[in-house]
Structures are given as C-alpha cells and as structure tokens.
C-alpha cells in the first residue's frame, strides 16, 4: 500500500471541504472494498477522509411515505431494519445475499454504490485495463471473461458492477442524495451508475468531491410479490454470475405493475424498463415470463467464456418472475437461496 494521510470528518460540510483541500483524496466509509484495492495498489489515494462516523446512519420514514436509508448505515443494520423487512423485503433479501456477515457489519449503504468491479484484470496491475488505466486496452475481451458482462458492454470495457444490494435498489428506484463543493443535489438511482462507453474509468455520475448522504426509497416497496434470485459458483459468499430482482403488483392473475433488474450482467445494475412495460397488463403465465425474458437478453453479447450467462439470465428471469408472482419469498434474517 502506498503512504497516505488521514483525517476524520466531523460533519458533511467538513468532509467535503477536507476532500477538496487534498489532491488525490478519497472518502472512506466502511472501507471494505477501498482498503482491499489500496493493498493491491489499484487505488492509490494520497489522503483519506473518514466519513464512517458522520451522523448519516439513521433509517427514518420520510413525509412522502418513503424511507430514508442513511449513507453510513451498515448493510447489516439496513437489511435487518424492521421497516426494511416489512416494506422492502426485496432489499432485505438482496443485501443478505451479498458478501459475508463480517463485511455487511462494516460496509455502508453509500459504499455499496461505490464498489468497483471484480473483473480479474482490474485487479491485475500487470495487464492492460481501461477502467484502471484509461487507454491501455481491455484484457477481458479475448481473455478470461467468465465473470464479465453481456449487456450494455463496449469495446473498451465489459466489466460488471458487483453489488447485490444495488440490483434491488435498481428495481425499487430510490433517489440518491449527495453533497459536494457546489452544494446538495439528488440523482435518480437509474442515473447514478453508467455504462462504460469509451470512458469505463467512470463508474458513476458523481461530480468531483460529491459525497452520498442518503438513499431515499419511494413508498412503493413491492412487499407482497417480489423475488431476489442469485446464481453463483458456490452457495454462499460469492459474487453473482447472474442475479435477478423482481417486484410485481398483481390484480388476481394479472400483472398491474412490474420492476425488473439484473445483476452480474452489466457495468451498472441493469433495470429493463421496456421489459417492465411488456409485463404490465399481462397474465402471470409461463408464456408471458418466457417472452419477457427473451426480450431482456435479445441484445446480449457473449465474449466466449461468459456466453453461458445469456441462457442463464434468460432462465433466471423466468424463475424469478414466477417466484414473485407466487409471492412465496419473504423477508428474513438471511438469504437461503430464494428457492
């Protein structure tokens, strides 16, 4: 790890000011991803501003009926929060499908959004990677790309966003509140992460120095008909090869509203608005689910060793839609496979 200086911010304004005053600085929340990347010399901040103990850890109801998730609330506290379990069980299940208990006890909500990709080449300083070193090339295209993306990729980068929590958030569509040198603003979750295009070094649309302060969930939580389905190489504590988050509203057997997002397949949590439109007004049948799943992966591109993800995603979408329509998955104290 390269040397750096460190300070602990006392409030949001102090954090923003401190970061702006140090070239090459970074905020650190839980640090479970950042410190790992610093050990690998992938990230080399000259100064860290600790924001983990700012007063941003509350989970509280909003006047509009929504729920505010503080940026420094841990993933564990968020998943096991009674309001989250009762009103947003999709989020409860997605968070508990990710990482390990030790990591979830430290990792923050803001930090979850800021995770970097787990593409092998991003971590391997001996190989070209456009995300790590812009302009150097993409080693995953034509290389080992089993974990890489199939949707929205570019010739510059086929990396995926690794989060489970963010896949549920993509379906639930919160607003991301941020503070920065130019003041406060909000970003729709859909617009927070970006596709790689020709600038894969940018994971998201935050401006320089901006700090996430909360995630504001809207009232609608799809608590009755939802599913989070995660498929991975081992049963626990592994990143998703493909994951699917579904939220449905039903009138009898008819789908009246739908949310559908995928993880492990793209540079951002992949919400498919057109697939959601296709589901609305349709009967919850295998035929409907198969048609929508085929639509989602219609433009998917495999790069060799990740070709299997296209069929895996198609089948996972069908299964997750079926599970959501049946309404059998419940919030819980852990994720046991979404069966």
């Amino acid at each position: 790890m390269y040397p750096f200086t460190y300070s602990r911010a006392t409030d949001v304004a102090d954090a923003v000011r401190d970061k702006a005053g140090h070239d090459g600085s970074a905020y650190i929340g839980g640090g479970t991803n950042l410190i790992d990347l610093m050990k690998m010399n992938v990230e080399q901040p000259a100064h860290l501003v600790n924001v983990a103990k700012l007063a941003l850890s509350k989970i509280e109801e909003l006047p509009d009926g929504g729920l505010r998730l503080g940026a420094t609330a841990t993933n564990s506290d968020t998943a096991w929060n009674e309001q989250v379990k009762a009103r947003y069980p999709l989020l409860n299940q997605a968070i508990l499908a990710g990482a390990s208990p030790q990591l979830r006890n430290v990792a923050t909500n803001g930090g979850n959004l800021m995770q970097r990709t787990r593409c092998y080449y991003f971590y391997d300083l001996a190989t070209p990677c456009n995300k790590r070193e812009p302009g150097s090339g993409c080693s995953a295209i034509g290389g080992f790309n089993r974990v890489c993306g199939i949707l929205g990729t570019s010739e510059a980068c086929i990396a995926t966003h690794p989060s489970d929590m963010c896949v549920a958030l993509a379906a639930l569509a919160p607003t991301v509140r941020v503070s920065g040198p130019k003041g406060e603003r909000t970003i729709a979750f859909e617009d927070f992460h970006r596709l790689p295009g020709d600038q894969p070094e940018f994971d998201n649309t935050l401006a320089e120095g901006e700090l996430i302060t909360s995630l504001d969930l809207p009232e609608k939580g799809f608590a009755k008909h939802f599913a989070y389905l995660k498929l991975r190489d081992r049963h626990s504590y592994a990143f998703a090869l493909v994951s699917v988050a579904v939220g449905l509203e039903m009138d009898g057997d008819t789908i009246t509203d739908a949310r559908l997002a995928l993880g492990g397949v793209a540079h951002k949590p992949w919400r498919d608005l057109s697939a959601e439109q296709l589901l609305k007004g349709q009967p919850a049948t295998a035929e409907t689910f198969g048609r929508v799943a085929a639509h989602v992966v219609a433009d998917a591109v495999g790069r060799g060793s990740n070709d299997f993800k296209i069929e895996l995603a198609r089948r996972a979408i069908v299964r997750a839609l079926k599970q959501a329509a049946e309404g059998k998955q419940e919030a819980g104290d852990m994720y046991l496979g979404g069966q």
Binding site: Y6, A9, G31, P101, V106, D333
Partner: protein
Amino acid sequence: MSQPLISAPASGGLPNPVPTGPVRLTINGETQTLQLAPWTSLLDALREYAHLTGTKKGCDHGQCGACTVLVNGRRINSCLTLAVMHEDDDITTIEGLGTPENLSPLQQAFVDHDAFQCGYCTPGQICSAQGLLNEGHAHSEAEIKELMSGNLCRCGAYVGILDAVKEVVDKQ
C-alpha cells in the same frame, strides 16, 4: 474542523517516511495508545503493535475470516479496516473471550466437538460464532452454515465447527 492524525505538509506531497501518530485503542477492556501509521490495519495493530497474536492473518483481503474480531460486539474482518478508524470502539479479540482456565462456551464447544485440525482459522471461527450469537439470527443448521460462510477452514473441520456452534446456539 476535521481532526488530522497526520497532516500533509503545506507544500503538498507526502513526507518520507510518513510519521506515525498516537492511536488510542481499547482492546479486551484495556485502553492503550499505539504509535501507528494511518495505513496500519487493525489486524496488524493487534498482532504487531499490541502483540495479541491470537488473531490470525490468512488472506489479508477479507476472503477467509481468519482475522475476525468483535468491534462493539459485532464481528468484522480486522484486515479490511484501519486501526485509526477505531479510536472510540470496544475491540474484543480471541484473547478477550476466555482464558485457558475459564474457556468461553464457544471455546469449550470447539474443544468438545474437535472443531479444528491445524487451528489456524479457529480464533476467527470462534469470534465469528460469538458475533453470530450476539446477532441472534441463526437457529437451524442451514442458518448457521449461511451465517458462518465468511470463515473458511482449509482442513475441512466444518462438521465439527457446525456441531460446536449449534450446541451453543441451542443453549441460548
């Protein structure tokens, strides 16, 4: 104002070597001040500076759980956090859970169920299991397996580990 542990010089850039600063840590109920660089992990602070070598360094990347300790009663990977981030925290290591004469219930259960072979992962397994008990979410074997998945055992003593944790969970 923020509280810098170590300030960069006004001219910019880092002094070489970067000086250490005092970091006050409360470990197993005892508060001590260690001279640490900002990049010293909590794991290295415990082992190399507080000389509590019960906590083990396995992968040093949060993948194996050997470094698990309790911070304010919650299990965390001590390798993926900086010591300077824990000045106000109450840290418990395997040395703080029991003594050779008076083992904690989990320590006794690990002995009774032969829940280790080489023993390297054991301090992390026990601290993690203590965190699991504190959380109170695991009851069945399937739940214990899922909530112990952050701790690897290369000897494959999982059967004994599961039996040991289950016995203590059942007594709660």
